[in-house]
């Protein structure tokens, strides 16, 4: 019994760590999909790029870890502005199909570019010494880096939620998600709002990719391999919602870990089955706006 309780703690811990990373990466996708109605399958590209930026900054230029994280955020956010203005913005009013195609195309290109620049090998992650080792909690050892992950992501989530709930920008975003035409009518510059939000979402994805490099390996095929997971987080959580993907990401993180721990012979079967069940029960996701 005690054994079971302690494995429960471990599963919950690893599941939360994984779920937090999924959330930090996917929340931007949720907001941009809700806000702009844009089916951005290429979101994983930003996460991967964030991972590469951080890892190469650390290994090639000896940039300290915290600075490398910031660098990943800033560079990817900046790059995403260029992409948004150049490509995405032209397809806001186009159909889902065009958006799907454009972003699949971007994935293909990013995968090839990453191979060109970094080769196919998975990038080694060399953590700073203060984040290595184990961290004792409730009489069990936990990997220190994952404890840091959970703590850091929690702070990030808190800041993000505060930002969206309490700032002027957040109010505008919420208004525009609710009703774009109305937001435009009351004088919100939606085009600027989209760009800023998109950049922030991409930056967060980069941060998530960098932070999670230890859990979700950074390699060229990253955007394809994890696409389904990110999409599940958004679809199950509900597009445009902040809380929904959070719940969904934790659910997926924990249940994935639990399946691996207790029922490894079933693989990812349960995750997909649960996704289908939830979407049939609530087509707009757990916290999504019911469609008209």
């Amino acid at each position: 019994m005690q054994g079971f309780a302690s494995s429960l703690v471990s599963v919950a811990f690893h599941g939360i760590a994984y779920g937090m990373i999924l959330y930090v990466i996917s929340v931007g996708l949720s907001v941009t999909m809700g806000l702009m109605g844009f089916v951005n399958l290429a979101h994983g590209v930003f996460a991967m790029t964030g991972g590469y930026v951080m890892l190469s900054a650390m290994s090639r230029y000896d940039v300290p870890f915290p600075l490398a994280l910031c660098l990943a955020f800033v560079l990817v956010a900046a790059a995403s502005v260029v992409l948004e203005r150049l490509l995405y913005a032209r397809l806001y009013s186009a159909g889902d199909l065009e958006q799907v195609l454009l972003t699949i195309g971007l994935i293909f290109m990013a995968v090839a570019a990453a191979r060109l620049a970094y080769g196919t090998l998975q990038q080694p992650v060399n953590l700073p010494p203060y984040l290595k080792g184990q961290f004792a909690l409730f009489g069990r050892d936990f990997p220190a880096y994952r404890v840091f992950l959970v703590a850091f992501s929690s702070v990030l989530v808190a800041v993000l939620w505060f930002g969206v709930e309490r700032t002027r920008w957040g109010a505008k975003v919420r208004a525009a998600v609710d009703n774009r035409a109305m937001a435009q009518a009351i004088g919100i510059n939606t085009s600027l709002l989209f760009t800023v939000t998109f950049a922030l979402g991409s930056g967060l994805a980069a941060l998530g990719g960098a932070l999670g490099a230890d859990i979700i390996a950074i390699q060229p095929i990253y955007p394809f391999e994890n696409l389904i997971t990110f999409l599940i987080v958004v679809a199950v959580g509900g597009m445009g919602s902040l809380r929904g993907p959070f719940v969904a990401a934790l659910l997926i993180g924990i249940s994935d870990t639990a399946c691996k721990y207790w029922l490894p012979q079933f693989g990812a079967f349960f995750i997909y089955a649960a996704t289908i069940a939830i979407l049939l029960w609530r087509p707009a996701g757990l916290f999504g706006k019911a469609s008209q």
């Binding site: 999909m33 089916v39 490509l87 032209r90 397809l91 889902d96 199909l97 065009e98 799907v100 195609l101 454009l102 699949i104 195309g105 971007l106 994935i107 293909f108 290109m109 990013a110 995968v111 090839a112 570019a113 191979r115 060109l116 394809f224 696409l227 389904i228 999409l231 599940i232 958004v234 679809a235 597009m239 012979q265 079933f266 693989g267 990812a268 079967f269 997909y272 089955a273 996704t275 289908i276 979407l279 049939l280 087509p283 707009a284 996701g285 469609s291």
Partner: protein, 327 residues
């Protein structure tokens, strides 16, 4: 007036135009002129059939799916398991593959086709992923990640043996493609086809007309799944092997790319796309296997930004310009 694109319309002339025989003539010419290309040729024919099945639901009924490989793969595995365990007769195999994929399409269609947009996209993805996981884990039945092989197909009708050069296989695939083409063409020109176009164009209005939208979608989805299953069965028969790739998201993605490249919702886009894509892959992937991906990605972006009708769309526009220039 109707354009060169084949749309379901009460005005369009349903007779087969001379140009529409061109693909078949070319296919036969290839059979004699390029006998060493027949393995690739058979694969192209199979992908054309698969793309045609996707065009029916994506191009005509407007269902965006990233999971059509589920039906293709299901057909492929059914054909393989049947050959290993029951009978290696190819025609029975194709029939069973098509019917069972159709059944799967019908069942899943009943469940998912009430949804739209991202939710539908996700459901199609999740269904393929589940099929993939099952095939991966049911090792005893499917061979898991190692694939399923070790069977030899019997000669077709006891007469035509599958050979190393794939001559039989090529004609076998061509025959089924022809039948499927005829069927799809009929459907598209029928009132049913017209109502599918209506659903794609304006689903709210179709509801207001009292059209049984959901039932229509389930019906076309079932037909499309059955065709995809036939394509999968053909792949199993011509390669006498089936692996997990046939159920993968990658395959659905590649298929989508091929169809888009050719042109959506115009029947022959499903012919042009796979030919161009697979021939390009065949030559480029040989010379630059590592960077083939980049070109495909760039092409997709360019098609979306500048050439929305795909290759056939570009041809249309060129023809239009030439005609205008003449008058």
């Amino acid at each position: 007036m109707t354009g060169p694109a084949h749309t379901g319309s009460y005005l369009s002339d349903p007779r087969v135009r001379p140009m529409e025989w061109l693909p078949w003539v070319l296919a036969l010419v290839c059979y004699f002129a390029a006998p060493t290309y027949l393995p690739l040729g058979s694969y192209i024919l199979i992908m054309i059939l698969f793309a045609l099945s996707l065009d029916l639901i994506l191009g005509y009924a407007g269902i965006i799916t990233l999971g059509h490989a589920a039906y293709f793969g299901f057909g492929a595995y059914v054909a393989a398991i049947l050959a290993v365990r029951v009978t290696a007769d190819p025609l029975i195999g194709i029939a069973v593959a098509g019917i069972s994929a159709g059944l799967l399409g019908w069942l899943t269609g009943l469940v998912i086709l009430r949804m739209r947009g991202l939710t539908l996209l996700m459901l199609t993805l999740a269904i393929t992923s589940i099929c993939y996981e099952i095939a991966n884990k049911a090792t005893a039945l499917t061979g898991g990640a190692d694939g399923l092989g070790g069977f030899n197909m019997k000669p077709i009708l006891g007469l035509f043996k599958f050979d190393l050069f794939n001559k039989t296989g090529y004609l076998y695939c061509l025959l089924f493609l022809f039948v499927a083409w005829w069927l799809v063409r009929r459907i598209i020109y029928s009132p049913f086809g017209a109502s599918l176009t209506g659903i794609r164009e304006n689903v709210a209005r179709m509801h207001a007309l009292g059209s049984p939208v959901y039932q229509r979608l389930v019906a076309v989805y079932t037909i499309s799944a059955a065709l995809a299953g036939v394509a999968g069965g053909l792949l199993t028969h011509t390669t006498e092997f089936v692996g997990l790739k046939v159920l993968s998201f990658d395959l659905s993605g590649d298929l989508l790319v091929m169809l888009i490249l050719g042109g959506v919702g115009r029947i022959y886009g499903a012919f042009v796309g796979p030919v161009v894509y697979l021939l390009a892959q065949d030559s480029l992937a040989k010379q630059f296997p590592e960077y083939w991906y980049f070109g495909i990605g760039l092409m997709l972006v360019l098609v979306v930004m500048f050439a929305r009708g795909g290759i056939l769309g570009i041809v249309d526009r060129l023809l239009l310009r030439i005609r205008r220039g003449n008058t």
